[in-house]
Symmetry: C2
Amino acid sequence: MIFIDACFGKKTPYTPVWMMRQAGRYLPEYMEVRAKAGDFLSLCKDPQKACEVTLQPVDILGVDAAILFSDILVVPMEMGMDLRFEKGEGPIFDNPLKDKAQLEALHVNEAAKRLEYVYEAIRLIRAKLDSKKALIGFCGAPWTLATYMIEGRGTKTYSKCKKIIYQDPEFMHAILRKVTEVLKLYMSYQIEAGVNAVQIFDSWASALEESAFFEFSWPYMIEISSYLKSKYPHIPVILFPKGISGYLNKIDGDFDVFGVDWSTPIELAKEKLGDKYVLQGNMEPTRLYDKKAIDDGISHIVNVMQNKRHIFNLGHGILPDVPVENAKYFINSVQERTKV
Amino acid sequence: MIFIDACFGKKTPYTPVWMMRQAGRYLPEYMEVRAKAGDFLSLCKDPQKACEVTLQPVDILGVDAAILFSDILVVPMEMGMDLRFEKGEGPIFDNPLKDKAQLEALHVNEAAKRLEYVYEAIRLIRAKLDSKKALIGFCGAPWTLATYMIEGRGTKTYSKCKKIIYQDPEFMHAILRKVTEVLKLYMSYQIEAGVNAVQIFDSWASALEESAFFEFSWPYMIEISSYLKSKYPHIPVILFPKGISGYLNKIDGDFDVFGVDWSTPIELAKEKLGDKYVLQGNMEPTRLYDKKAIDDGISHIVNVMQNKRHIFNLGHGILPDVPVENAKYFINSVQERTKV
């Protein structure tokens, strides 16, 4: 698999490319399946339909890797928290975590087992997916999951989390430890079900100042990654902490690929991390609105990353109002432009 | 004025300190005046009440500079756009900018004149404020104002703005040029009314990738700054582009103080900009939830910035649920800890 080879820094015939959120709302075919499923969570829990939408971007766009269709919040949900998705508001936990008693009531082993519909989706996808294409499994980073579990919904200020961090850091660590234990099992079970690589998304890394990031986020990601690397050395681990361009010089640990978000100049990521890790990223996703902007974005990244280990991707998820034609143009252009 | 001396890099008896949003909702005295004013916009338009809330943090906390109470969006409002503040939603422009005809209908000279209530507030504040304390005037950066004018409200994706940037960049430049012209007049009039320094807030700088930031945001900030520095060399100009820690090495131009946000490690700002500019910032605002967190935050910044030109501040605005006692403790601790 060219994608897996690239994750391990091996030479490939061209730079493999996929897009975060590639199984998503910009595709009419996705909207059709989603309409049939009812709501978003039902789609996540339906292995057949999750399989179908996971495969769509491979068939329609020709990306080099499929990423499992799911949501990071199925994990706290199966730990025992009530989750619903409210239109226009996003995810909501009606009983956010406030104290140790609530935390103690959450499941670990049972949560990982309850996620069986994810493993079943993986088995279905891997059976149908072209053997030359990789299937990427994923989870949210412990910190990112904790923000939702504590705030109860999306937040601009993270004020509940920050109060815990600065007033009762041990409680925050207790939450993060428990989530980390579930994620180690969850990622192991995803691998055993057949994913060829895993990515950990720390979407809200940018909510933490440097010292807090290296206390409350990064060590837990590395704990999961180290655990997986020692157990499954043949499975590449991709870490994607978003919006930490100021902290790159302290990034270290046992993983394979560093996901670069679009707010981090690719030159900077190359300088700080390009010798230690394979880099993945990082075209500004809104460049997909325009073909010339796509050309310019690709040229810039290809020029910077020539002779460096690289996987092409957007620097964040594709937006729902991107024309499918432009997404195709992007994938095809990367594959053509980087042919050796 | 110790604050103005510090802006020009002169030695001061201690490091002056103020807080972004220091005239704000965490103060019961502010909430009282605001309740009397009715809504937020009425408070902005009432010079007496704006004066009153501007002076509150000077009296209550002992900060070294007052910052004019106002809102960055009064500028597009007086250019001719309908603005309202919706509870829980923030600012809304009901007719966001979509085309050149709408842009052409917006006022420049007249807008700057209509902001007379701001200049009147400045005259009132300057007459009442301790002559040793500085009064800071401010505006939003052209890019940040443009995001609201185009999106019509707060946004996570900036997708309307990004479509213009990548599909019709000349239209974006036309908007930014017009806003810049108003801001040059607005800042001049603020200075002539009596402010002792000005700060330009680019709150949404972080929404732009590096190349877009240096095409659509930074040059317009520098245009305003250069204009003010040539006309009023005795007035310090502070620029605060938020969340651009990846781009600091390219920051250059004619201004006095660079505002460092909390996501930029102060060590990094010192390394990249500390010899060229006075630095202002950058304690994580949520450290104000806890006194030990305040102590640790101050210690770290004081240690890094010793022997460098520095103004103490938070790295973003103070949050509404911070105890006033902790805000006092922060201000007083900085002033005591940095005494020479």
